[in-house]
């Protein structure tokens, strides 16, 4: 009995790796969600930031309100709200899914790319990320400074023109450090979809633990997967940043 309770760690890790197909499919799920959330969040966040800065009194307030509310409430609550919204409003949700199955080293891997719950996960993560990205964009836009906008206008550029040609090119370059922060750490938050049933890495980890009972090894491996992914993304973004340097920006 005592020998059973503290089994050799190496043996643990190997046992968990037997289920590598689950780990892989879960990881792909997280990355899939991450890619969507980051991209949609980028577009939406940029729009939000521009509206907040240049949109006129009403829209600016709306944008600011959205950003502050999303940033002031937990992601989990937002997720639940979105998940149960159709239910509360009595909208019928049909069951549908977009699945992909493929074979790797004679193990069948099935990934559900689109599903009612996956879609909600994507929406929740995107809306959330957009608010945080909007804050970073705002900082970058403000840092360009009103003087250059004045100069652009004095040449005869319209407001839109000055945003397009003067503010955005600089803001987008200046935001890279802060944005890389968000981009690198967003994968962490994709695990939240566990709560609504999406088969992400975390849920797969549960599955593995329920079979193997090697809880420490499993969770540690999951943690390491995230660590490595985040490091890679971080490093990649660092390289992008150093490649696009302009003196004085």
């Amino acid at each position: 009995m005592i020998l059973q309770t503290i089994p050799g760690p190496i043996e643990d890790i190997l046992k968990v790796f037997e289920y590598w197909d689950h780990i892989l499919s879960g990881f792909i799920m997280n990355m899939w969600l991450y890619a969507f959330a980051l991209t949609i969040g980028f577009i939406l966040g940029l729009i939000l930031a521009l509206v907040r800065q240049y949109g006129g009194r009403v829209f600016s307030k709306v944008s600011t309100g959205y950003i502050e509310v999303i940033r002031g409430t937990p992601l989990l609550v937002q997720l639940f709200l979105l998940y149960f919204l159709p239910f509360s409003l009595n909208w019928p949700i049909g069951s549908w899914r977009l699945v992909s199955t493929f074979s790797l080293f004679d193990k069948n891997i099935e990934i559900i790319f689109f599903d009612h719950i996956t879609l909600i996960g994507i929406i929740a993560l995107s809306l959330n990320s957009a608010a945080y990205q909007a804050e970073y964009f705002r900082g970058a836009i403000v840092s360009v400074g009103g003087g250059q906008v004045m100069a652009a206008k004095s040449l005869g550029m319209s407001t839109i023109g000055s945003i397009r040609h003067v503010v955005l090119p600089q803001a987008l370059r200046r935001v890279i450090p802060a944005w890389s922060n968000e981009a690198a750490y967003l994968p962490k938050y994709t695990t939240v979809v566990y709560f609504i049933g999406v088969k992400d890495l975390f849920r797969e980890a549960h599955y593995i633990v329920s079979i193997t009972f090697r809880s420490l090894a499993t969770y540690v491996i999951v943690a390491i997967v995230f660590l490595i992914t985040i490091s890679i993304i971080s490093k990649a973004l660092d390289i992008v940043y150093s490649r696009t340097r302009i003196p004085g920006l």
Partner: protein, 257 residues
Amino acid sequence: MKIHDVWKSYENLEVLKGISFDVEEKEVKVIFGPSGSGKSTLLRCINMLNPPDKGEIYLRGQNLMSSDIDINLMRSRIGMVFQQFNLFSHLKAVDNVSIGLRRVKGMKKEDAYEKALQALKNVRMDAWANHYPAELSGGQQQRVGIARALAMEPDVILFDEPTSALDPELIGEVLQVMLDIAKSGTTMIVVTHEMGFARAVASEMIFLDKGLMIERGTPEHFFTSPQSERVKKFLNQLEVLYGSHEQLLQFKDKEEL
């Protein structure tokens, strides 16, 4: 250009109180006065970056205050040079000058580039055409700023204390460029402390204090027999601080000749 009875207030403070004057072609108007007198505000009223509350501003007969005017088009005919240079930091010098030509006047890339280089040549910055603003000294940046305004071939160029943010040894090069421009017949409205410059090329000088035009006249008038006490005191202060600039300018002047 006609500036007629312009009033402007910020919150409860009346910054400009009934300013009126005309500017003819090829004229160089120098506006000077203590800080807080509303000089910068006046300039920004003229090109409508900060429209006045009351009054009218006419450019070649067109009222800039009226609502059926394309203000962007009007602004492209009024150039401005800023105290803080305000160069576009993400663009090289030549692009800084050409962007107005391309995006506002719709010129083709090659033509705009040619024109930009020419403008840079006029301010003697053509060797630095491919440098970014961060790589240039203050005086060089300002000269690019002047080129940027010049390239648009405006009806009038506004100068907002163009040398006030410069280190002393860099002021000369900018003043020299401004001198050349003035001599070549550009219409200029200049806000500055540089009395040497004013003495050399100003057609009329206006003293502004607390939003009112206190005195106006030719440079000779101001430097030989100013009327108001305020003006006399101010000129004396300037002499003490900036006396050396006179020599700077004359020296350069003689060099040119």
